[in-house]
Symmetry: C2
Subunit: 177 residues, 2 copies
């Protein structure tokens, strides 16, 4: 599907309210459940999304627009949330994510990006040359990836409760990230 | 995780608003996108969820409570939505699902099910003996299955737009239902 900046903004804007609808006020058993050792709980995932808002998406977009390929992105820390979320309630994390996402969407809108802007290039520390359009598409897919992860993780909490229906529920056969 | 009827009701009650948050007002390109031939679009999935509200979950729960194993469930038609949704807008389907789910949740609450009720048994036409608890757990997991499917289907629309980031996005490697 061809990239459309208004559609990207529309889809990215939906995620905070969607996560609140799915997760706000759930018992801590659900919030802290995961898929086994070295997998993430809902709490961990929202912390990870917060770190992305703070250090990844718009930070990198601005590097592409201001420096092009001359300045490589900082590597993203996939484990930062284990320190950064400490002491925060899950509802605080959901709200923090909503505030940061809104700020980033506002910044993105103010940039009034053109189709030509989406072709501008930057340098990823591992992947090499990438475009601004690829970065924004990845932001969208990354949201869906973690929405899917949360759905899968929550589904698996009832893996032993569904009895013989397990055979019909493909999400229970799907693998961890 | 042990089944708790209040938690089941809580989680099932969230799905209509969550789907509206994710999908309402999206362009028809997004709504009608799928994962390739013989896979379902967002439009198809919501039609399928509607058919479940009409003929599956609470219908079967009442059969278990009223007839036990003496009356087998009717087989569920996984393709009914292709006829039933004809002529309806996607927003109409989302609203129809919300209304039906609310009615079913109200009925479920009125039953005031006990832990002993969850052990009551019925007869599935293919799977044989199942319990009411297994049916309700399956209802929950089935919601998550289709939320995950929608996230995956939407993610895949940008599969070619994410460039080299594809290697990092596990949802793009996951299979169809």
């Amino acid at each position: 599907m061809k990239l459309d900046i208004d559609e990207i903004i529309d889809v990215l804007s939906r995620t905070p309210a969607l996560l609140k609808e799915l997760l706000n006020g759930l018992s801590s058993d659900w919030v802290n459940s995961n898929e086994g050792s070295e997998t993430w709980s809902q709490y961990d995932v929202v912390g990870h999304l917060i770190h992305g808002e703070r250090t990844d998406w718009m930070t990198r977009a601005k590097i592409i627009l201001n420096y092009g390929e001359r300045l490589a992105f900082e590597p993203f820390d996939r484990f930062a949330q284990f320190e950064a979320s400490k002491g925060k309630t899950f509802e605080e994390l959901l709200e923090e994510f909503a505030v940061l996402r809104k700020e980033n969407i506002n910044t993105l809108q103010e940039l009034k990006l053109t189709e030509a802007d989406l072709e501008k290039t930057g340098r990823h520390p591992e992947l090499g040359k990438v475009t601004l359009g690829e970065l924004l598409a990845t932001w969208v897919v990354h949201d869906f990836d973690h929405i899917g992860q949360i759905a899968r993780t929550m589904a698996k909490q009832y893996e032993n409760e569904v009895g013989p229906w397990k055979a019909y529920l493909s999400i229970l056969q799907s693998r961890k990230c």
